[in-house]
Amino acid sequence: MNYLAEERRNALAAEYVLGTLRGQARRRYQKLMMESQLISETTWLWEQYLNGLGESVPPVSPSSAVWENIQSRLGFTDSEADNQKVISLYQKRSRRWRTMTGVAAAAAFIIAVLFGTSEPPVTVAPTHIAVVNNADAEPLWLIEVSPESLTVRSTAKLTERADKDFELWMVPANGQAPISLGVLPEDGRWDRATPAILLRPDIAALAVSLEPPGGSPTGAPTEVLYISPLVSV
């Protein structure tokens, strides 16, 4: 194979996938892909090279309207029976959360009293906090949320699990499935920009689950250990 041709083919595929191939050139390239298997395959190769980058962006859950629109555009909503089946998938997962969030709300007042006034001043004052306690009411994590940052600190009471990770979840008030906020640090601090989902008004609680190393393999909590309300301060 002509080396130059191969180099050119890779260069075009790479810039097509990257998105810097624009305008007329992009449209010509799309036509070439339809005509040539080799060009299609080179494009797939570059999709594999580059799109791993996209998989490193921290996930952000879209609003529920997105799924509703997809269903309606695909005509899923025409058949009531099918629709029910699809919806029930969500409900099955979220039912237990509704009962748990009731308990969490009851605990909110106590935590507000305990921590509301004793917080030392910080650079960006948190607007919301949550304290995740174990079964003996010993605090394991202190979670502070401001519009800019999310800070998580673990306490000395936390026992590390070498074979497991703890994952933090946001539990929506509408009973939908919890949304992952990431794997919690087992020692020290976790400072990051506040995920948009934590600024939503419809948060019922935060939850911590026990997961295999690296976090939930399914996108849903494996074993919920603790649940804590997010209280405004």
Binding site: N10, Y49, L50, P58, W67, N69, L89
Partner: protein
Amino acid sequence: MEQEQLFPLLCATADGEKEAFAELYEITSPQLYAVVLKMLKRRELAEEATQDAFIKIWHNAGSYQRGKGTVLTWMVSIARYRALDLMRYHSIRNEVVLDAEDGPPDDIGPSTMATREQKKLNKCMDELDQQQRQAIHLAYFNGLSHHEVVKHLASPLGTIKSWIRRGLQSLQRCLSL
């Protein structure tokens, strides 16, 4: 989000099973949405791109093949192409509304789930010249064109094009080792 988990869901989706598609959506939509939101910046456009991508995934599930990468890679590709189309369609100009960061999110730590391929990709990106890496990041994560990267990095167009071209060549050499 492992291939072993997503592949059966995509196969069932190709067979027209709506529950499988719903589950595929539930698992992957936060990742796809995050990628297009970073590019498009505006929520309503990112939602539109996500919807369009999943419509396409539903219709084209049967055309997936292993040669196109993992299921997630294939889905991210579809979503990114749709976002690029929307940017063009809405004539989105990226020169002003850039994020403070020029690169990938900083919170990719050892605690996040990374496949072997991703680790290799990160290692190979790290080996690039800083300018090459920065230019590629701006194009990939923020969907910038050559001209927009020029404005952002304040270097001539020829230089930017060459950083990107040579960066991509080095990346391929490193990844195919």
